[in-house]
Symmetry: C2
Subunit: 161 residues, 2 copies
């Protein structure tokens, strides 16, 4: 790998990006989660070079976000099906979509998320599991967790005053 790894950060954000932070990877996951699971279909929609797509799909299979399923024997052809680990990326992709809708898509939202359970536009918001309220941006901080290093424990609650 030509990159400097995100080592020694003991950070779940860095650890997640080590798996899904490569260029194109989240766009490949977008396609699979939208139901497009065949190589040619993903390649066409993402506009990625075939060798890069092969690499990204292989990494996603190795990390257990996708599994390969054969859908044709002659010729031998496979599609890529998201696992639970892959489906659980949905909140990351949806929050990116919302940020892009707001700040990077001047022509208006190309796609609107719909909550299949109730059938309406979802406009998903993060809520606090304790008090139930919508978490406004800027209302979150972090405390050291059970996996914190000594240095992170010493930092205490961030952001510092």
């Amino acid at each position: 790998m030509p990159y400097r790894p995100f080592t020694d950060q003991n950070c779940s954000i860095a650890a997640a990006l080590e798996i899904v932070g490569e260029r194109w990877t989240l766009l490949v996951m977008r396609e699979v989660l939208l139901g497009r699971r065949r190589f040619a279909e993903i390649r066409r929609n993402v506009g990625v070079a075939p060798n890069i797509l092969s690499d990204r799909l292989q990494v996603l299979v190795e990390h257990g976000l996708l599994r390969r399923r054969r859908y044709s024997e002659h010729p031998e052809s496979y599609e890529y099906v998201p696992t639970r680990k892959g489906v659980d990326l949905n909140p990351v992709i949806i929050t990116l979509l919302q940020w892009g809708d707001r700040y990077a898509t001047p022509g208006g939202p190309p796609r609107v998320p719909v909550h299949t359970t109730c059938g309406h536009d979802a406009d998903p918001r993060l809520h606090c599991s304790h008090c139930g309220e919508i978490i406004q941006n800027g209302e979150l901080t972090v405390r050291p967790g059970p996996g914190a290093t000594a240095g992170q424990l010493a930092e205490g609650v961030l952001p510092r005053p």
Copy 2:
């Protein structure tokens, strides 16, 4: 730019990643949103090469996610303050943290999000703004929005059956 751009996708996810999808960028935003705003401090925590950090900060300032503020005249020194556009990346970073906690941090969560308004662990979840329920992963689909292309309009609701 040495990369092939994410052009012609008419997608808010791709448009967002065009701004924040470069390697290191979301880790730089993590630091700033945790309250670490000075170059040396960010560099130490992220472990990024100085020239790459300079580049990422400049891109974030150009795109309006950060602004530079002078905190010392002699020597002339600046810190990087998140704008509203930058703070609004919080849901992306928090959902990445949650995915990393679940799948990529075997030692347990290094940091736990706290809702400052109620003072408790937030365990943030996406809720549907229409019905108010937690959106389970797999319960979202998309419909064409006001910015959809003719091709996206023809696709209708995804994922297709």
